[in-house]
Structures are given as structure tokens and as C-alpha cells.
Subunit: 328 residues, 2 copies
């Protein structure tokens, strides 16, 4: 137990000694919307429930410290399932020195997890979405589209079109089941990034948010060079080595969501220290485009010859509901 936790589990509220500045975020994970219970191993679901919230803290250049877990468990859930789920949650908590200080449990029809995470900025202030400037370079960590493709494969498996136990690209499934929050990378960017967000909804959507929040006094646009968007070997191979020729691949890598990579902007002068951090962490940082002053807020996609590419049709990131209406 962290010495700052003066009262944790077992009272009406947790009581903490707090730093001068606190970051706080919460996210819901709902069965049949964000995950399929029969396909998502419970330990990995528990891991993911915390990881996606740590990713939000990472995107603020924050250091996570505490978590609250509110869980609604269906009555048919076994104790073993709940144990596995908690094991996964606590594994990730331990990996990131996060202490579980509170929560709530109740019954429900569908499994529902609501996680709140508190932390503190790694530097004297966090990196917001609103700091991007004209001339900034646009960077992403890791590779994009893997989690979304993994999710597509799961849906194919569920529909009987693919046997995932035979599937050799398991890295794609892992990216969906058990994303890695880029906590250390985020905190190391505290003094380098002008603006940052985690890629939960896809590059186009999340970059749009940076342009919106950063463009209040001056309209900003972004230019993305598609050839630069980092793709994993398995992603490339799934699309026969030519992902940019596939409309599905383009959609997944640009609008797929759930990458939980960092998207950030930084001045050109930041490139050398970024290379250093990337090497230290063994995590790719790739410059994919830049920010410009513009007349309208827009994201321009260019192919390698410099020609405009129309934005792909958005990919629906969540499972369709029983009524067939796409989930938000």
C-alpha cells in the first residue's frame, strides 16, 4: 500500500494524500459493445480494463498512481472468471505501480467494468490536446491498425469464417485482447510533445481532436503521408504486402481505433531526443506528417507520389448490437 493512501478499500471513500496536481480519467468497458465475453480471456479483459485507462494518463504525460474498479457482474459469471479478471487487473496495476483504492460491485445482465485512474503529471504540467502549433511534426508510437484487424479476425472467427486457434498472426489478436499502455513513453514526452492524445478511435479521428483543441485561436490542418504510417509485419503480410492497395487495410489503420498508441506533435528540433527515447524503450516513434496553419480544419492524406488520397470509409470499431445498429 502506498504511504499516501490513508484509507483505501473498506470505507465509504478512499482518502489520499495528494500531490499539488492530479490527473483523473474514467472509461467503461461493456460486454457485447467493447468485448465478447466468450472470446476474450478474462485475465486479459481485466488487464485491458486498466490498460485503456492507463493509456489515457500516458497521453497526458502522466504517471498513474491509483485506480478504482466498479464492476457489474452477470449472475451466471463463475467465481473463477471473476478471479481471473481481477488477477489480470492487478497484474497491470503491479506492472505500473498503481494501487487499487476503491470501487463498487453489483449485479447486472451484461458484464460492465468502469475504471477510474488517478495520477500526477510527470513534469510540472501535463501535455494537453491543445498545444499543437503550425510547423509541428506529427508522430505516432508503435504500429497502427493491428488491434482493429485483430478484432476483425475475431468477428470472422465468431461467424465461422476463420479458425483463430490455427491463425499464426496471433500478435494481431493480442493487440486487441491485451493492449500495452505507453505509460513510460508518455511521461518521457512531457517536455518534448506540444500536444498528445492516445489512439483509441483511430488516427483520423484522434488527430482531428488535436486539430480542434489546438485550433481555437488559429485554424490548423494536418498533412499525413500514408507511406510513413507504421504498420506491423503481420498487418502487412495479412494484406499480401500491399496494405495501401486495400481499402479495408486503409480503413483499419486510419480509423480502426483501439491502437492505444500515442499520437503527438512536436517541433522539428525534438527529433533527436525522440530517437533517443525510442531506442531506450524499444518502441518505434514514427513521424507521419505535419501540422500547418490552414483556412479550414482538415486532414490531407498523401500517397508516396504526393497525390491526394480520399479518406477511407470509417470502420466500425465495436461489435454490431443485436438490432444491427452500429455501436458508438
Amino acid at each position: 500500500m502506498r504511504p499516501e493512501v490513508l484509507a483505501g478499500l473498506g470505507d465509504d471513500a478512499a482518502w489520499l494524500k495528494t500531490a499539488a496536481s492530479t490527473l483523473i480519467t474514467c472509461d467503461l468497458l461493456i460486454e457485447d459493445v467493447h468485448f465478447l465475453r466468450e472470446l476474450h480471456p478474462p485475465r486479459l479483459l481485466g488487464r485491458k480494463a486498466l490498460s485503456v485507462n492507463l493509456s489515457d494518463l500516458a497521453a497526458m504525460a502522466g504517471i498513474p498512481q491509483y485506480a478504482l474498479l466498479a464492476a457489474a457482474f452477470p449472475r451466471d459469471l463463475t467465481l473463477e472468471y471473476a478471479d481471473e479478471l481481477m488477477t489480470g487487473f492487478l497484474e497491470v496495476a503491479l506492472e505500473h505501480k498503481v494501487e487499487l483504492i476503491g470501487g463498487d460491485t453489483t449485479a447486472s445482465d451484461k458484464l460492465c467494468l468502469c475504471v477510474t485512474v488517478l495520477g500526477t503529471p510527470a513534469a510540472d504540467k501535463p501535455v494537453l490536446r491543445s498545444g499543437a502549433k503550425p510547423g509541428d511534426e506529427v508522430w505516432v508510437s508503435g504500429s497502427l491498425g493491428d488491434a482493429a484487424l485483430g478484432f476483425e479476425l475475431l468477428k470472422k472467427s465468431r461467424a465461422g469464417q476463420l479458425d483463430i486457434s490455427d491463425f499464426h498472426h496471433s500478435s494481431l489478436l493480442v493487440r486487441h485482447f491485451d493492449p500495452s499502455p505507453r505509460v513510460e513513453a508518455g511521461s518521457r514526452l512531457a517536455h518534448l510533445a506540444h500536444a498528445m492524445i492516445d489512439l483509441s478511435d483511430g488516427l483520423l479521428s484522434d488527430l482531428g481532436r488535436i486539430l480542434e483543441e489546438s485550433g481555437k485561436s488559429q485554424t490548423l490542418r494536418a498533412v499525413i503521408e500514408l507511406e510513413r504510417v507504421p504498420l506491423s509485419p503481420d498487418f502487412r503480410e495479412y494484406y499480401g504486402g500491399k496494405p495501401l492497395s486495400s481499402e479495408e487495410a486503409l480503413s483499419l489503420m486510419l480509423t480502426g481505433g483501439e491502437d492505444y498508441e500515442l499520437l503527438f506533435t512536436a517541433p522539428a528540433s525534438a527529433a533527436p531526443p525522440l530517437k533517443k527515447i525510442s531506442a531506450d524503450l524499444g518502441l518505434a516513434f514514427t513521424q507521419v506528417g505535419k501540422i500547418e496553419a490552414g483556412k479550414v480544419r482538415e486532414i490531407t492524406l498523401l500517397d508516396r507520389t504526393g497525390r491526394l488520397v480520399p479518406p477511407p470509409r470509417p470502420w466500425f470499431e465495436h461489435f454490431p448490437n443485436p438490432k444491427g445498429i452500429p455501436s458508438e
Copy 2:
């Protein structure tokens, strides 16, 4: 917007200037477990979602400051319903000077609300569950059992056994639909109460928690005089003026839950200042029993002649699920 909110809605996490010590709590409200959507007016549901969390802060003698709302909305929910719900939530936020600083929205089958509330102790430290001492008097605010009886009446109405539009004891329904968190009372008890909890699960269950948390070094028991338990005029009248002769009434007032009143222990010397606070706030404080050192942790119920009364069978506080298994 409070000046301490450095970044609120619209970033990956909220960023706050924090006091030296922080209280934090979260609660889930799930359709068909905690409320019936067709019977609970959406504005009152929004109010209740925040109020039940403020009640947890009140029970720590805390002053609430910030809230996060994570909501999963069924796809058949109208925009008008969601607006009403938010209106109610923000009404209570305004009443208690609480600022909404973050949250999440997603789709789901059942309406699900997860609220996180942050605050700070009214004094240099909060009142925990663990401070009760032998010789303390046991006090409750307000009246007990009303919300549980209101909920019973709603279930009767749903089963066609009662027309609640005709029902003249609407105060009982209001106690279920729109509980009042005892925030000001809680903070005024910061220097008087030894131990405190909010009555969410019923007097016996919540007093048991105080005995458990306070009894780690010395086993504690409690004696409750049933005649002293404060009941509202409508509750008494519903049971023909003789609630203590009704097993249902006994069960509702002692195990009913959702009163959201404060249950606290205090030394006998606190009685005069407690009377003063009660008069200031127009909120009854009633001494219902006392804490003693004991050989086993137990709660003894006495009638007015001093005879032992057996504890009533617990009343199931939530709606039975479709499979007929009681909810937790």
C-alpha cells in the same frame, strides 16, 4: 468552472490543482438492478446517480468538489431522455458546487451510470468507519425505511397491485427516486463523530460494518432500542400506526437500504452540539443505541420493555432479476 480545474472535459484526463488530501468514491447504477427505467423519471435518476455518491463523501465528513460521469446509453434511449438525465445530474452538481470534469459515454443494452466523486475532508481528516469506541452513542439522521418502502410500493405498482398515481404517500416514493445526500450534516460532524457511514444497505448491515472496521483491536457490539429508530409519519401510517408490530416494517427499517441517511457514533458529550446542528439544518439526529465492548461482534435489538427482539429477515433491496435470483 472552478479555478482549480486546469483542464476539464475535452482531454484524455482532467487536470486539477489538488488539496493536500483527497477523498474519492465511485458507484454504479444499473437498470433493472438499481432502478426501473420505465418508472424512474430520468431527471430524478440523474439526480440520484450523483446524490448516492455525494452521500458516500458526506459519510466521510467530506466536501464534494468534482464528478466524473461514465454512461452507457441503450440505443433506444431518446435524446430527450438523456437531456433530462443530464439536467438532473447537473442540478445536484450545482446544489453542491460540484463540477463535472470528465467521463465517458458508450452504447449498451441496459442503461448504466458510473459516477466518480472527488472531494476533500471538511476538517484536517475525514471520519472513518473505524473510529467507534465502547461507550459511544449510535445516531442516525432523518428517518429510516422510507426509500425501501417507496421501492416496495413501486414494485406493487408494477405488478398492478397499487396505482401510485393515486397514492397519497408520495414522500415515500420521493425517498427512493430522489434521495437527499446529507453533505452539510456530514461535514458539520467532522469534529464530533467517532465513526460514520451512510445508510445504503440498511441499519443492521451498515452498523455491522462500523463494528467490523472499529473492532480490530477490541471486539465491539451494539445495542439498538427499536422504539428510538426514527420513522416518518407516512411510514408509520402505512403500517396502521404500529410499524413495530409488522415484520415487513421491521425488515424495511432495519435492512431496507437506500436511506442515504448518516449513521454515526459519538461520545455522550457530543449530544448538545449535535442538537444545535440538527436545529440549524432542520434535520433530525436521533440516538438509537450505543456501542459496547463485547465478546462477539453482534447487534442486539431491544423492544421498549428491554426484551430481545430477533433480527428481521433481510429485505432484498433490488429488483429481482429475470431469472428470479435476488440481486446483490
